[in-house]
Symmetry: C2
Subunit: 230 residues, 2 copies
């Protein structure tokens, strides 16, 4: 079908987003919200009515475990669609919080179902996008399962590189979340994340300074993570 899975993902997203925005302007239900760092988009257990297109910035979703500690389930970047997982039960199973200044476009989910006549591909495209998310999660499971910390961190960074859709290896990328958040997500401690980053940097696979990094040796990095780009 499509040769490059990432360019196809990009096109799929763009198609869905343009359909959704078109839909919402017709029904007058769309709304852009500006978020500051730390603002909540929705809370766990809120009733599910909307899905959100992330126009700029970044968002994390997390659940709160009994003991009160949060467990991060996903990071979202520009052009991602957030809120899917509420479809099934009618309530969001996670909270969504802005990692930095961001903006989201809100769409009422019911409107999507109504307008299948006008956009016959929309529902099918949403199915495809969700199918992809399942697939991506399974890759992540694969990663979190095996391997040591350094591979997890390498894979995490490489994934951000992939998602950014930049062609050049030398583009500087941003790490909007804290080391603690990365550790939380990957199931390792903050300290281990830091040590892994230091090691990757010392071995010249990446270059990193604070929240900015870039991939120095893409081949070695891919080799290290054994073809698991998350």
């Amino acid at each position: 079908m499509m040769q490059n899975p990432n360019s196809s993902l990009y096109a799929l997203r763009k198609s869905i987003i343009s359909n959704l925005i078109d839909t919402s302007t017709m029904t007058n239900s769309g709304k852009i919200t500006k978020l500051k760092k730390g603002d909540l988009v929705f809370k766990e257990c809120d009733e599910f009515h909307y899905i959100y297109i992330l126009l700029s910035g970044s968002i994390k979703t997390f659940t709160t475990i009994n003991s009160g500690t949060e467990k991060i389930t996903c990071f979202y970047y520009q052009d991602d669609i957030v809120g899917f997982s509420g479809i099934d039960t009618g309530r969001y199973p996670v909270s969504a919080k802005a990692l930095e200044a961001s903006s989201v476009f809100r769409i009422r989910f019911n409107d999507i179902e109504k307008l299948t006549d006008k956009h016959p591909n929309l529902q099918n495209n949403m199915l495809r996008l969700m199918s992809r998310q399942i697939h991506e999660n399974q890759n992540l499971l694969s990663l979190l399962g095996k391997t040591q910390s350094e591979k997890k961190v390498a894979s995490f960074l490489f994934n951000i590189y992939i998602q950014s859709c930049h062609s050049s290896t030398f583009t500087t990328l941003k790490l909007p979340m804290s080391r603690r958040d990365i550790g939380n997500y990957l199931g390792i401690t903050e300290e281990t994340v830091s040590r892994s980053i230091t090691k990757l940097s010392q071995n010249n696979l990446i270059a990193i300074s604070g929240k900015k990094f870039n991939i120095v040796d893409k081949m070695k990095l891919v080799e290290l993570i054994d073809g698991h780009p998350v």
Copy 2:
């Protein structure tokens, strides 16, 4: 919406399955296949045309990593629907293999799209089911991330108990996969799985003998896994 997420899942599945089977008999595309232990349902990279309802038995899906080792991504039990993740790219991203004697009902995916007139809820229900799978995967991520091995194994067993939909704690459950498969899935070694099981058994949280087990102390088990039933 629905109070009990599991009974709603059960109803959702049943509704989808009955719609699918109805659809396939109309188009004459349905087919039941009997599988022996070790038989493949589909292979990684096969073209995606069908999804499969698991009528009886159990199936594992896995990817083959560069080095040739397999990584298990999911286990499926009776009434599960297998093959979703192929929707997006047009090829299955995983292989599916029977863990024991099983039978599956095969349905051509294109037929589902065609018959949205007759079954207007079908596509939406499929969206819901996929939404749930995303949610479940995120729970699993949460599990694999943190916690120690004993919690992973406890959670894995508890999940099988939940999925079986039995009301009684004392029902004997079957573990169709090997310890090695469990370890592969949970990201720990076979030996650690075995040691964890022994420990859980010694502490009277479960009772286990070979491939049969039951939950002895449900409350303690839930407490151990900190409300993470995968």
